[in-house]
Symmetry: C2
Subunit: 157 residues, 2 copies
């Protein structure tokens, strides 16, 4: 393809892209009433609190695993106050910023087995974590709307 090998996203750009999405997801968590975060859902799906904790089990552990090939498996997904979820979110933000520059440059295009289970190119696995966050956050938008709450604008990062 004419422009096939042209670099489009650098490491810096992908990190900034992700942290922009993570800022929006933080605003979503904060927009949920504390008593709805782990109780409200639609169609038998998971609560937004459970989804936010899933994002936390995927974010830092993925980046750390990409660097160390050690995969954290047993992070708790028990319900907790919204303030605690936000505290963990902010901690993850810092850790991702600290860990990301430690990813060896060649690693992004190597094939790895994430969490001992998911084979793929590192950049694809990192994209999957970001896409999973966008996907489930979209689900959260419907939860908020049906609760009569205006969600934060999607285009603001």
């Amino acid at each position: 393809m004419a422009n096939g090998n042209v670099p489009v996203l650098t490491s810096d750009a992908l990190l900034n892209h992700w942290q922009g999405h993570r800022r929006l997801t933080r605003r979503m968590i904060d927009a949920f009433p504390d008593d709805k975060l782990f109780t409200y859902s639609l169609g038998g799906m998971r609560t937004f609190g459970a989804l936010a904790l899933e994002m936390l089990t995927m974010g830092v552990p993925m980046v750390r695993g990409v660097i160390t090939n050690e995969w954290e498996q047993n992070r708790s997904r028990d319900a907790r106050p919204r303030a605690e979820v936000l505290r963990e979110w902010d901690e993850a933000t810092k850790q991702i910023n600290e860990l990301w520059p430690q990813i060896p440059a060649e690693r992004f295009h190597e094939t790895i087995k994430a969490f001992g289970a998911y084979d793929g190119k590192t950049y694809d696995l990192l994209m999957y974590v970001i896409d999973n966050e966008i996907h489930h956050r979209g689900q959260g938008y419907v939860y908020l709307r049906t609760l009569g709450i205006e969600p934060p604008p999607f285009y603001e990062r």
Copy 2:
């Protein structure tokens, strides 16, 4: 940053990533009952049919605009049979594959004004189109679940 300027996604990889998402979105459109695609919604939000047409107004027109700086504005968003939406989706798939290699290599990192309105780096604007698709498709998952329909798996592309 240590790995800051390392290329993570090439043009090819970003196109493949997007077309993988577009295959999943096609399965979502196909999973909706024909009589629900433009009638069913939750929380006062748009129908999944309307969202799919929004994706079509953003996809090919964005890529063509990136190449030509001509921005298509007035594509119809009227309700139509599911088969017609799928036909348009498949046509867009071909057009995106044909147009993408024509994006000049240097354009990805240039600042442009998409649709005469949205300033940004080209790669960020292309990512926005993909993210918007993932976001609204996540909304569609809730619609399908509340209709009692099992959506296609998120991890299959």
